[in-house]
C-alpha cells in the first residue's frame, strides 16, 4: 500500500496504490489523517492502482467523508477498479461517497 498526497492550495490530489488490509489499515488511516483536518478541501483520490480494501479501509474512507462534510469540503474517488467498486457498492458506501 502506498499513499502519495500532492497539495495545491485547497486542492489535494491523492494517489492510492496497492491493497488496504488488516496489516496496513492503521497506516492508511495515519497517512490520510492530514486530509481530515483540512478546511474547504477539494480532495481527489486516484484509485487506479488500488487493488483491494478491507472493512477497516472502508471505515477510514467513511471517517474522511464525514470530516470533509464537517469541514465544508469535497471528496471524489476516481478511476476505481471494478472489483474495488463492488466493495463500495455492496456496503452501500458508493451511496455516501462520490465515486467517478
Amino acid at each position: 500500500m502506498n499513499v502519495t498526497i500532492n497539495q495545491k492550495e485547497n486542492n489535494y490530489h491523492v494517489i492510492l496504490e496497492g491493497r488496504i488490509d488488516t496489516t496496513n489499515a492503521d497506516q492508511f488511516q495515519h497517512e490520510i489523517e492530514p486530509l481530515m483536518t483540512a478546511k474547504d478541501a477539494n480532495i481527489t483520490i486516484d484509485c487506479a492502482a488500488m487493488e483491494y480494501t478491507s472493512s477497516q479501509g472502508l471505515r477510514t474512507f467513511l471517517m474522511l467523508q464525514k470530516s470533509v462534510i464537517a469541514h465544508n469540503g469535497k471528496l471524489e474517488l476516481i478511476n476505481m477498479q471494478p472489483q474495488v467498486k463492488e466493495i463500495f457498492d455492496i456496503t452501500g458506501f458508493s451511496n455516501i461517497i462520490t465515486i467517478k
Binding site: A25, S55, L58, L62, I90, T91, G92, F93, I96
Partner: protein, 633 residues
C-alpha cells in the same frame, strides 16, 4: 601442570620467569664475555711482562758473554804468533767468566807452519778445575764443526744450537763463536766460548705467572733450549714434536716463535686447552709461556658460578613472589566467576564480591553490580509483563466464551424450517455475528460483519447482536427494524465503526420472506431443483454510518425445498498460501454440489470443510460465519 596452566597467576609468573631468565642469561653471557676478554688481556700483559723481563735478563747475560769474548779478540790478535801465550789466554777467559766453561782459539789450517790443526783450548770441569789442551786432530776435525764453518763462512759471530756435552757430565751447552780477522780482513782463527746453560734453566723455570704454567725456550730453528714443557724436553724440537704428538697448533706456535713474532695464541697442551704467550730474544731464540686456560680463567669460572647461583635463587624467589602477588590481585576474578555462575543459575541476588582497591577490579565490581541491578529490574519487569499478558489472555479467553454464547447454539429443526449457523473468529474474539429470533411462525434472522477485528469489533458486534435480539422480538417491519438498529448503533459511535448486516423475516406458513441488506455480501439462494444463484438485492448502507438512514426492504416467496446460504466475507475472501481467494464463483460451485437430502448442519460443515481445504496451511485472516436456512418440502 594442567592445573598450573589453567591458573592465570601461574601462567603470568611462568611468563615473567621465562622472560627474566632470558634477560639473566643475556646479562651473564655479556658479563662473562667481557670479563673473559679482560682477563685474557690481563693474562697476556702479565705473561708478556714476565717474558720480556726474562728475555731482557737472558739478553743481558748473553751480551755480557758476547762482550767478554769480543774483548779477548784483541789480546789474541796481539799474541797470535805466540802459541804458548795463546793457551794462557784461553785459561784466563775460562777462569774469569763463570758462564764460560770452555774457550778455544781455532786457527785456520796451516796458520802455523806444518801444523794442520792448531787450537789451544781451556775448560772447567764440574769441580771448577781448569785444564788446557790442543783440540784439533784427525779424530776431531774442527774445520767441519758447525761452530767453525758458520762463523768462518758468514764472517759474523754465531750462537750454535744448544747441545749436551757428552764429555763433561751431561751439561746443556751452547757455543758462541766469532771470526778473528787480520789487517787485510782475512779470517785467521775462530774464537769460541762454550757456555753452560744451566743458569738458563733457573731463569726459565722462574717463568710462572700461573701455578701450572710451563716455559719454553727455542732456538731459531725450533730446537729446544730450555723449559719445563715435558714433551719438548723429550723430543727436543717443536716441529718434530708437533708431528709426533699430532698437535698442529704446536707447529703453528713453533712457526710464530721461530719467525721472531711477539704475541698470544691458544694451543692444546697435555690434552688441555692452554694459552700461550711468546716473544723473541736478541740472539734469535724465542721464549714462550704456556698456561692452562682453567688456571688463567679460574676466577671467571667461580664468578660465573656465583652469578648463576644468585640468579637462580633470585628467579625462584621472584617466581614465588610473583605467583602469590598475582594470585592475590586476581582473587576477585575467581570470586566474580563464581558469582556470575550463580547468577546464570538464576540466583539474581547472589553476593557480589567485595573489592577494596580502586583499580580495574573496582570497575569490574561496579559493572557487575550494575548488571545485577539491571537484571533484577528486567526480570521483575518481565514477570509483570508476563503476568499482565497472562491476565489479558485469560480475559480474552473469557471474552471468547462470552461471545460464543452470545450467538445462539440451539438450532431449531422442525418440519417447517431447519436453521444452522457456525461462527469461527480469526482471533480469540471477532466481529462476525449471526442471530435469530423465532416468534410462532415468524423467524427473524440476521448475519453481519463488523469492520475490523479483535476486541473493538467484538464490542460493536455485541452491541449489534443485542440491538437485533431486542428489536427483533418487537415484530416490526424489516425496514423499521433495520432503521432502529442503525440508529441505535449510530448513537455514540465516535470511532466510526460500522457493521454490514443482512436481516430477514420469514413467515413459515406462507413462505414469504421480507429481507433487507445493509451493505452485506449477497446471499445464495438454492432453489428446490438444486440450482443456486446469488440474490442481487438492493444494497442499503452499512449500519452505524448515518443515523436516520431509511432502509429499503424487499419481499420474496420461498418455495418448499429451497435453501438460503448466508455467509460473511471470511468465506469468499479466504486466502490460500498463493494469496488466491476462495471467491464467489467457487462458492457457487459448492452450492451446486449441495445434495437435496443434506441437513442445514451438513451444508454448513461441508462449506467450512471446502474453505479449509482451499486455504490449506494458510492462516485464517478473517472471521468466518456461515448460516443455512432450509425450507423442507
Amino acid at each position: 601442570m594442567n592445573r598450573l596452566s589453567r591458573s592465570f597467576s601461574a601462567r603470568l609468573s611462568v611468563t615473567v620467569l621465562v622472560l627474566t631468565s632470558i634477560l639473566f642469561v643475556g646479562a651473564i653471557t655479556t658479563v662473562s664475555y667481557f670479563s673473559h676478554k679482560i682477563i685474557a688481556e690481563e693474562a697476556t700483559k702479565n705473561a708478556s711482562n714476565v717474558l720480556s723481563a726474562t728475555a731482557l735478563d737472558i739478553d743481558r747475560t748473553l751480551e755480557k758473554i758476547e762482550s767478554s769474548v769480543a774483548n779477548v779478540q784483541w789480546v789474541v790478535y796481539e799474541h797470535r804468533d805466540d802459541s804458548t801465550y795463546l793457551y794462557h789466554i784461553t785459561q784466563e777467559v775460562v777462569e774469569q767468566n763463570t758462564e764460560i766453561v770452555g774457550n778455544a782459539i781455532a786457527f785456520i789450517p796451516q796458520y802455523f807452519r806444518d801444523r794442520h790443526f792448531f787450537s789451544p783450548y781451556s775448560y772447567k770441569d764440574s769441580a771448577g778445575h781448569v785444564s788446557s789442551k790442543q783440540l784439533g786432530n784427525d779424530a776431531y776435525n774442527y774445520f767441519e764443526m758447525e761452530w767453525y764453518t758458520v762463523a768462518y763462512q758468514s764472517r759474523k759471530p754465531h750462537w750454535s744450537s744448544p747441545y749436551f756435552d757428552e764429555g763433561g757430565g751431561q751439561r746443556l751447552m751452547t757455543t758462541y763463536s766469532i771470526p778473528l780477522m787480520d789487517e787485510q780482513g782475512e779470517v785467521y782463527a775462530i774464537l769460541t766460548a762454550d757456555i753452560d746453560l744451566y743458569w738458563l734453566n733457573s731463569k726459565i723455570n722462574a717463568l710462572r705467572p700461573y701455578v701450572n704454567s710451563q716455559a719454553l725456550l727455542l732456538t731459531g730453528d725450533g730446537g729446544y733450549v730450555s723449559g719445563t714443557q715435558m714433551e719438548l724436553q723429550r723430543i727436543q724440537n717443536i716441529f718434530k714434536a708437533s708431528k709426533e704428538l699430532d698437535n698442529k697448533r704446536l707447529g703453528v706456535l713453533g712457526e710464530k716463535m721461530t719467525s721472531g713474532d711477539l704475541g698470544t695464541m691458544s694451543i692444546r697442551n697435555d690434552r688441555n686447552l692452554a694459552f700461550a704467550v711468546y716473544g723473541p730474544l736478541s740472539n734469535g731464540w724465542s721464549a714462550a709461556i704456556i698456561s692452562p686456560y682453567k688456571d688463567v680463567f679460574v676466577h671467571i669460572g667461580r664468578m660465573n658460578l656465583i652469578i648463576i647461583l644468585v640468579s637462580v635463587l633470585g628467579l625462584l624467589l621472584m617466581f614465588v613472589l610473583c605467583f602469590h602477588i598475582v594470585r592475590k590481585v586476581t582473587q576477585p576474578i575467581t570470586e566474580f566467576s563464581v558469582a556470575a555462575l550463580n547468577m546464570a543459575k538464576g540466583n539474581f541476588h547472589t553476593h557480589v564480591p567485595e573489592v577494596t582497591t580502586q583499580d580495574e577490579m573496582r570497575q569490574l565490581h561496579d559493572s557487575f553490580e550494575y548488571m545485577q541491578k539491571s537484571l533484577n529490574l528486567y526480570i521483575s519487569e518481565l514477570r509483570e509483563t508476563t503476568s499482565t499478558k497472562e491476565r489479558y489472555e485469560s480475559e480474552l479467553t473469557i471474552a471468547r466464551n462470552i461471545q460464543m454464547h452470545m450467538v445462539p447454539t440451539d438450532f431449531p429443526v422442525s418440519e417447517n424450517v431447519s436453521l444452522y449457523a457456525l461462527l469461527q473468529p480469526a482471533r480469540q474474539v471477532g466481529g462476525d455475528l449471526y442471530d435469530f429470533v423465532i416468534k410462532g411462525d415468524d423467524v427473524y434472522f440476521a448475519i453481519g460483519d463488523v469492520s475490523g477485528k479483535g476486541v473493538p469489533a467484538a464490542l460493536f458486534m455485541a452491541v449489534t447482536r443485542s440491538a437485533f435480539r431486542f428489536l427483533g422480538g418487537l415484530q416490526l417491519t424489516l425496514s423499521e427494524l433495520m432503521k432502529r438498529i442503525n440508529n441505535s448503533l449510530c448513537d455514540g459511535n465516535t470511532m466510526n465503526m460500522f457493521v454490514t448486516l443482512f436481516a430477514g423475516h420469514i413467515n413459515l406458513k406462507t413462505g414469504q420472506m421480507w429481507y433487507c441488506n445493509a451493505g452485506h455480501n449477497p446471499l445464495v439462494l438454492i432453489h428446490a431443483d438444486g440450482r443456486p444463484e446469488y440474490m442481487r438485492v438492493a444494497s442499503n448502507l452499512a449500519m452505524g454510518v448515518f443515523s436516520g438512514f431509511e432502509y429499503q426492504e424487499d419481499e420474496i416467496t420461498l418455495e418448499k425445498g429451497s435453501r438460503l446460504l448466508l455467509y460473511t466475507d471470511g468465506v469468499t475472501e479466504a486466502e490460500n498460501i498463493e494469496k488466491a481467494q476462495y471467491g464467489e464463483e467457487r462458492l457457487l460451485v459448492f452450492a451446486q454440489s449441495v445434495a437435496a437430502g443434506d441437513t442445514s448442519e451438513q451444508v454448513v460443515d461441508h462449506l467450512m470443510a471446502s474453505v479449509k481445504e482451499f486455504t490449506g496451511d494458510a492462516e485464517q485472516n478473517d472471521d468466518i460465519t456461515i448460516m443455512t436456512i432450509s425450507i423442507p418440502k
